[in-house]
């Protein structure tokens, strides 16, 4: 492997790493708050990509201003949810209605677009999926997890697997077997950094990762809601005594994780494409990233994601003995099992303490 090739593989690694990092973040959010490993996390990513595809289906003009507008919209909606949260009356009802409404807006727009052949710029089309997928995560928690009777760990795992199957199946019905891509955000395909050729979409993926991670960090450390979420992750019973509703927090965690998944799914689709079956493998990788980072720390998940992404790219690059592109999917799984085993004592202790 020459120096130029090495740089090229590092770029691939950064691209994959950002993707895995965000999926891992989704795992961490849900796991920290609810102790559930959400097997549908990969499906959220797939849905994000597919929704963005659905929205830009007949469109070929990507523009940057729409992305900025989309981010402003996101801020506005965040503020709205925050406002609703600070009211005391029946927050569950209100916020569920809000999220459902928000989720249905893109759907209405889409239907309108179908009938009036409206064209949706790719910027908006890659932001709206976040809401749609958040709504899916929200519904999944309300209908699947919260209604479970006498929930056990094994039972909840299987419920999330069932949800994953349902989401995957519906995606398969709607979008078929084909691999879908959305147009690139910038017209220029590649730029040169040092000796490597960098696909412009990789920059977007990296930027999304950084922005989401920073926003999440700010959310968790600066807002009351985020702090409640963290409190719940540390000690649900104690948080409950302080007037925080753990179920509500779990609901928010699911919606948040789904939104994070949807975001990365929408941004990566122009580069890597998406089929209805992609979610499974991305979910597994996200889990590996989360396990590298110790499951409970968002920053750990990000670092784990980058380690995994770059490591996997280098395995493809090395091409020696069993370290070649055939085995690029095998090694992460082996590492996953090894990490789990090395940490099994700590994990068992955590599980016992809840």
């Amino acid at each position: 492997m020459t120096w130029e090739q090495f740089q090229q593989y590092i770029v691939i690694g950064i691209q994959d790493g950002s993707i895995y990092a965000l999926i891992g973040l989704g795992f961490t959010i849900i796991y920290a708050v609810t102790n559930i490993i959400n097997f549908a996390q990969g499906e959220f990513v797939m849905l994000g990509g597919m929704c963005s595809y659905m929205l830009v289906d007949s469109v070929d003009v990507p523009t940057t201003p729409t992305v900025i507008i989309a981010l402003l919209c996101a801020a506005a909606i965040g503020a709205l949810i925050h406002l609703l949260w600070s009211r005391q009356t029946s927050r569950l009802m209100l916020s569920s209605m809000v999220v459902l409404l928000l989720g249905s807006i893109p759907l209405v727009l889409f239907l309108y677009g179908e009938f009036a052949s409206m064209e949706m710029p790719v910027g908006i089309a890659s932001f709206l999926p976040i809401l749609m997928v958040a709504a899916v995560g929200f519904i999944m928690y309300l209908l699947g997890i919260q209604t479970a009777r006498r929930p056990t760990t094994v039972g909840l795992i299987i419920i999330t697997i069932g949800a994953a199957l349902v989401i995957r199946g519906i995606a398969g019905v709607i979008w078929g077997d084909k691999m879908h891509r959305t147009p690139l955000y910038w017209e220029q395909r590649t730029i040169d950094v040092l000796d490597a050729t960098v696909h412009t979409q990789v920059l977007w993926i990296l930027a999304t990762m950084v922005i989401v991670a920073i926003l999440l960090q700010l959310f968790l450390s600066r807002t009351m809601l985020g702090k409640s979420l963290k409190a719940c992750a540390h000690n649900p019973i104690g948080a409950g005594l302080m007037g925080i509703n753990p179920k509500m927090m779990a609901l928010i965690a699911f919606a948040l994780a789904a939104a994070v998944g949807g975001a990365i799914g929408a941004v990566m689709t122009p580069k890597v494409g998406m089929t209805y079956e992609s979610g499974f493998l991305y979910g597994l990788y996200g889990f590996v990233a989360a396990s590298l980072g110790g499951f409970r720390s968002p920053i750990g998940a990000v670092i784990g994601g980058f380690l995994l992404g770059i490591g996997r790219a280098l395995i493809i690059g090395v091409d020696w003995w069993l370290f070649n592109s055939d085995y690029k999917d095998v090694w992460p799984m082996v590492i996953l099992v090894v990490i789990l085993l090395l940490r099994s004592n700590i994990l068992a202790e955590e599980e016992r303490l809840g």
Binding site: I37, T147, I158, G162, A163, M333
Partner: protein, 353 residues
């Protein structure tokens, strides 16, 4: 009262079911479903192992199809490429799978979520290795052909009709063995482990060893089913044990009732009939429907459909289903009327009125 009826029915039921199963492959009865029947038998064998591991021991495995695959490939390679006697190949395959399970047994130190992920990863790795085919013995994605039929002396299991009985013979034997495992000291120990590992440990049960034993047993079951499949289909390929198949096996175990040996037939039958006869006309909807079934069963009756039906019948007699639906609807209605504090999701189980 209803219990008595149940025992009377059971006396009648067992011969009826056995005759029914025995008559299925005849052409004047349900001859066209011979193949389906055989597949159900194979799935039942794997599901019984999964029930032992998941239902009785309280563990979780999302990689059971891997053992099925290992058994299938060892049988296929040994009997077709190396020309070994199929029965010997099957025995070796079972031993190797048991050994693999024994070595993998170290992952049983994990629990719950982590065990699920670790077994999923193992299932994925085994499948992927079969696809990659680095050693040049698994035939890659195309798999292996030219596998001989099983035979006893000069009697060859060369027709669908004969193989149906072969598979169900194995299936019955495995069901009976599992039944006796469950009713023995081991079975009681397993249930203690399920209840509380600490409590079981304090009673002098070596928890890890028992989990390992049952893991190996379930792996060997899966391997036997895989070997039978190889000699039945005369083809072995990675397509028969994809990671998603492990999930389907879990669905079978869940429908049959996790802690129920005989429910496995019910679960395997339900899922295979759904997949092969009904949902095949609906393309991708099958995933949606199976996923929904899985979710609904685990949400409303975590002990499994078969077991829920059985206990419901024992408690309330023949018309328990309409009664419970009525009660569920009523509780849902009152739940909608007073959204806040009341319990929204009523249950098929129902509280006493």
């Amino acid at each position: 009262m209803s219990r008595k009826i149940l025992s009377q029915w059971r006396l009648l039921l067992i011969p009826v079911v056995i005759t029914f199963m025995a008559l299925v492959p005849f052409d004047w009865f349900l001859g066209q479903y011979k193949y389906l029947g055989t597949v159900i038998g194979l799935s039942t064998i794997v599901t019984v192992g999964l029930c032992l591991f998941m239902g009785y021991t309280g563990q979780v495995s999302l990689g059971q199809a891997a053992f099925y695959g290992i058994g299938m490939y060892f049988s296929a390679v040994l009997s077709s490429v190396h020309g070994l006697n199929p029965w010997l190949a099957m025995l070796i395959a079972a031993c190797v799978t048991g050994l693999v399970a024994l070595l993998l047994g170290i992952i049983l130190r994990l629990k719950g979520n982590y065990l699920a992920m670790a077994t999923l990863a193992v299932g994925f790795v085994v499948w992927k290795i079969a696809v990659i085919d680095d050693m040049g013995c698994t035939g890659g994605p195309d798999g292996i052909r030219g596998i001989p039929y099983l035979s006893i002396g000069s009697f060859e299991f060369d027709s669908q009709f004969k193989r149906y009985y072969l598979v169900w013979g194995f299936c019955l034997a495995i069901l009976l063995i599992s039944q006796s495992i469950v009713n023995s000291r081991i079975g009681r120990a397993l249930r203690a482990v399920h209840g509380s590992e600490e409590a079981a440990e304090s009673l002098g049960i070596n928890v890890f060893r028992f989990k390992l034993k049952i893991f190996v047993v379930s792996a060997v079951y899966a391997s036997i089913a895989g070997s039978l499949f190889a000699h039945h289909q005369l083809h072995a390929s990675p397509g028969y044990f994809e990671p998603i198949d492990s999930v389907y096996l879990v669905i079978m175990a869940v429908i049959g009732g996790l802690a129920s040996i005989w429910g496995a037939i019910f679960g395997a039958g339900a899922v295979e009939i759904l997949r092969n006869e009904i949902l095949i006309h609906y393309d991708k909807w099958n995933m949606v429907i199976l996923g929904l079934i899985l979710m609904v069963i685990l949400i409303l009756m975590p002990e499994g459909l078969f077991v829920a039906l059985k206990t419901g019948y024992q408690q309330e007699g023949v018309f328990f289903i309409p009664r419970r639906i009525w009660r569920l609807a009523r509780s849902l209605y009152s739940g909608i009327k007073g959204f806040h504090r009341r319990k929204i999701a009523g249950s098929l189980q129902g509280e006493p009125d």
